[in-house]
Subunit: 378 residues, 2 copies
Amino acid sequence: MTKTGVGIVETKYFTFANQQEGFILESKEKLVSVTLAYETYGALNKEKSNAILILHALSGDAHAAGFHKGEEKPGWWDNMIGPGRAFDTEKYFVICSNVLSGCRGSTGPSSINPKTNKPYALDFPVISIGDMVVAQKTLIDSFGIDKLLTVVGGSMGGMQVLSWLIKYPERIRSAIPIATALRHSPQQIAFDEVGRQAIMADPDWHSGNYYEGNPPDKGLAVARMIGHITYMSDISMTEKFGRQKKNNIQPFKFTADFEVEGYLHYRGDNFVKRFDANSYLYITKAMDNFDASAAKPFHEVLSEKSLKALVIAFKSDWLYPAYQSKEIVKACKYAGLQASYCEVDSTYGHDAFLLETEEETHLISHFLKSILQKRGKT
Amino acid sequence: MTKTGVGIVETKYFTFANQQEGFILESKEKLVSVTLAYETYGALNKEKSNAILILHALSGDAHAAGFHKGEEKPGWWDNMIGPGRAFDTEKYFVICSNVLSGCRGSTGPSSINPKTNKPYALDFPVISIGDMVVAQKTLIDSFGIDKLLTVVGGSMGGMQVLSWLIKYPERIRSAIPIATALRHSPQQIAFDEVGRQAIMADPDWHSGNYYEGNPPDKGLAVARMIGHITYMSDISMTEKFGRQKKNNIQPFKFTADFEVEGYLHYRGDNFVKRFDANSYLYITKAMDNFDASAAKPFHEVLSEKSLKALVIAFKSDWLYPAYQSKEIVKACKYAGLQASYCEVDSTYGHDAFLLETEEETHLISHFLKSILQKRGKT
């Protein structure tokens, strides 16, 4: 059953820009050029009909599967991508690209502003989820792919899926939004905002101009710790940590007494090594501003009736509660799309979309099979 | 129905210490002397049998009812205390004291350490919920009250109620723990810890030694913002703010776009004016360390079978979920106590214990009447 994964992989880079106009954003501002970091797994078939686009969440990146040379940790959705896995690389050509405004190889606030030859910092323009998707579409164009077999992603990745449904329904055959929402609730905005406030409260942030000095690591670590609480569930935390105390309790000076505290510190400290604080601000703001029903109700936007959707939610996910996924399903059905809904009975909270890979494999591989059957063999 | 409240009130101060020993804490450390700020409403009867002790939550204080001269905002539970209210000051003598380690008139880390003539800061000893209760008991002794009619409190106030049940069951006739827990879950610890980390990440914190300089206001504000998200509910935030944007959006530099963001900023900024960051550290740590079943199961600790308990939880309270209140009820019943349980159908989240005063009035006034009937007239 468990086959070897995709093995050693490398991140690639795709740079593009309309020489005259640059890359125009929803805000009407423009970027002179855009680079997207991306990875691919499997091979594109002759008909270019077997491509799947995987969209990552807030802190994800292009490295979804396999191993980078010399590294021990595989990509963030490795269990889902590879020969015999849900996104079977013996059948499908899988693409994962880092988002615009990210900090893992794509153009973002830490990139060099060609006007100043210094990092953009807060001179980087506001980015929307839609802008991320337009950039991805340009990457897909570069492969000569006319129609993606599916677009799939969890959390912010799911928002990008919804944005694909709105912007380029004719370029996809199906969509799999996982643990996501048509728009953030005030509670979701509030958690993001407190994270941003933690970063901006750090004097090392210097209004975003920290690239020549110390980055606001303490603030970013606090933001990440808040995030981690919301990614887990009351049950999963109890199962994982209980009220277990750490062995190495030092004389009481508000050090971490409980295991759960040590875990949060570890996660916070690790995150700052690989993530840019300004990217955190821009990306969370893009999520908060996203609203699939901004112009008109989502079901009125959905024009391509032949599209199929699989919507997945997780029972203990209180950050993106199941009722938000049901709203997506309702809109799809209202618009006449074939939408299936599955609420997975998981205790992992929002993290479940990264962890419940067995259940997801079952659901997604059947879903993909049904799409292929409908349209004939690839 | 709505009568005038208790009118103008003043905070009083009670200072005590065993001249030889000082005030010995659970940690075996001692304080040379202890001051508790407290307020009283109504009159103690001749038999001293009509006293009720009200216990406050994390950020509360002794000012539970009425108005301080020149102030427009009444005490934090004013709707519940006064003539004809749940804690009817025409019948009962109501006492509310600020907790030990607080910063609202009681001895805490911002108090002067008699050894150094400077504020204690982190030289202040670790305080437990039990220590707070021992100090309160000394205050009750000073009134010559042998038996309290009831002890009542929400959130951390409820933990103190549980501690009264454990430490001084012979000194109370009943107990009303509201929206509380026998012990914090790892999720509750995690939220507290992130708040503490936000304070300690603020360079103005200076390892607690900020009393001669600027206090760590930014860190404390972030801690308070995190708190406020957990005190509300997904529904109450949606009802209150939706995705409403603020009118005065400035050019995009991560200012508050959404109403909910502005609300959190406002709450954070206001809190730092009245609260000491070190007290926040000590009090949250006391809550995290509290465990009513630490020595033996809670039902085995409950020795006074004649005690009556009213346990109240709120449906949308996800910080102190109803299952935690049910554990309290279960232990009470298992121990042979008469325990009633009510889960109020509120959308206000954890804040409900401060807001659902009509429902609480109904429940509590009947409960108090039943206690008085049982033992005869006061």
